[in-house]
Amino acid sequence: MSDEVQIDQEVYDRLIAEGKSERIARAKAKAASVRKAKIAEGQTLGPRPADQAAKALSDYRESAGGGGGVATKTAAPAEAGGAAGGRLTPEQRAARVAASLGNGGKEPASIGVPTSGAHTHRLLALVPPAGIQQVQGKQQDKVYTWPHLLLVEFVALLAVGSLLLIVSFFLDAPLGSLANPNDVPAINKAPWYFMGLQELLAYFHPMVAGITMPGVAVVLLMAAPYIDKNPSAKPENRKVANMAFTFFVVFWAVLVIIGSFLRGAGYEWVWPWVDGLGFTL
């Protein structure tokens, strides 16, 4: 084939008329002309089915005279001509390379593997072109990690880092008076992420609120991927899962908010605008 693939003018004009972009039209027109050329040569188009590929491979091996170059055969000591441990002598290997290249024992010129005894690395496998299966898969749309992803990550890091620095500059972490086991404070609360549990404690026996319910929640959370067997990731296909999770999150969020802001001295219900905020981070 010449370096410059001709474009199929007819296809090109049609695609342009359909309003395709020039780039796409040209690519498709090139593909069309390649296809035409292949059909003219009598080739079949499209991926070859696996059995056909296997047949082509075995045909090829036969025509190459029981050719080597296939890993399994190289490893079989019985066939290797008596060399100890299934290893080939450099001469035997050279013969195999030549055979697998299909030029019947002549010096293999094309692949650049030196066949003299000086080089002793093993040639693991030589795959004849007919043995390569064509796989049709969608090319994923990918970009380079550097610079694209790393740049985004760096900006995110700077943004959050500076936000945190600004907050820390203006807002001091609390430090109360010295711990005193004999002086129970009026407002007595766990850190906010455990306020959901403390709020449950107001309704249930401590074993239920402190052990059973969080235990069940954690187990359910870990089991979620095994419970949700729906293969789709599209939101419109997983309304039940999304609703269940949203319910779960809202449930805990409400408990945390009540516990944090609406509970005061003695864990009684209060309104923060009346009794002040009984909450420390």
Partner: protein
């Protein structure tokens, strides 16, 4: 007067010597002759320690801020920041308490009042810890709503839940260390609940508190858990988490 070397001359000389070249591998953007070509972009990842975290190429949709919101990455960033600020705080803190030797609390007062940058670093550590709990939680929510825990990523979700628990434990054990009223009583509420563990309740509580109630032993015990044991376990699970992301074929999606 001799001609002054230009910036490019200096840069060239700095980059073109044995030491520099031994540090920055071929393809590094800091090495002389980096060109913005596909080959060098690929090498920039492949020949970098970052290759343990990132592949050469990533799916384009994963770059959109609205896919991950960078939440996993930010959780990790906060974890690193907390490690660094935490080490600073460790220089000035002794986990000792008890009548007549309230060193931990005195140390906290010093850090806030008189140590250079002490207050700022303490604030960073405190607010960073709250922020990390929050970002880890949001990260989990984003993973759920994207269905990103579906095969083959089920196990990485389980690893994630363990990381969430470890994050909470890190935060909670740190909460006791200032040894003020806030710390003591918040932790009392939390650990009282553990005493209700069926069958072994008392034993669990005893092991965690290093006694029957919160005291100097508890402080020492939680300090060790906070600065050594839980971070150690967390790093192991983080390694598995990041490794699984790549083995599971990178980020999930597109939706």
């Amino acid at each position: 007067m001799p001609k002054l070397p230009t910036f490019d001359d200096v840069k060239g000389n700095v980059q073109d010597n044995v030491i520099w070249k031994s540090i920055f591998r071929p393809g590094s953007i800091y090495r002389k002759g980096y060109r913005d070509t596909s080959r060098d972009r690929a090498l920039a990842s492949m020949n970098n320690v970052l290759y343990h975290l990132h592949p050469v190429k990533v799916k384009r949709h994963g770059l959109k801020l609205t896919y991950t919101y960078c939440l996993g990455g930010l959780s990790f960033f906060l974890f690193v920041l907390l490690t660094i600020t935490g080490i600073f705080l460790m220089f000035f803190y002794t986990p000792a308490a008890g009548a007549g030797s309230e060193i931990a609390y005195a140390n906290m007062r010093e850090i806030s009042a008189s140590i250079t940058f002490g207050n700022l670093v303490r604030n960073l550590h405190r607010w960073g810890a709250h922020a990390m709990v929050f970002t880890v939680f949001l990260h989990m929510a984003r993973v759920f709503y994207h269905g990103a825990y579906k095969p083959p990523r089920e196990f990485n979700w389980v690893v994630g839940v363990i990381l969430l628990l470890l994050t909470l434990l890190l935060s909670f054990t740190g909460y006791l260390l200032p040894w003020d009223q806030l710390a003591l009583w918040a932790v009392t509420v939390g650990t009282n609940m553990m005493g209700f563990t069926p069958v072994f309740g008392d034993q669990v509580q005893f092991v965690l508190l290093g006694g029957v109630e919160i005291g100097p032993n508890t402080l020492l015990r939680w300090y060790v858990l906070h600065v050594l044991f839980i971070p150690f376990i967390t790093v192991i699970f983080l390694a598995v988490h990041f490794w699984r992301i790549r083995k599971d074929g990178g980020i999930s999606g597109p939706l």
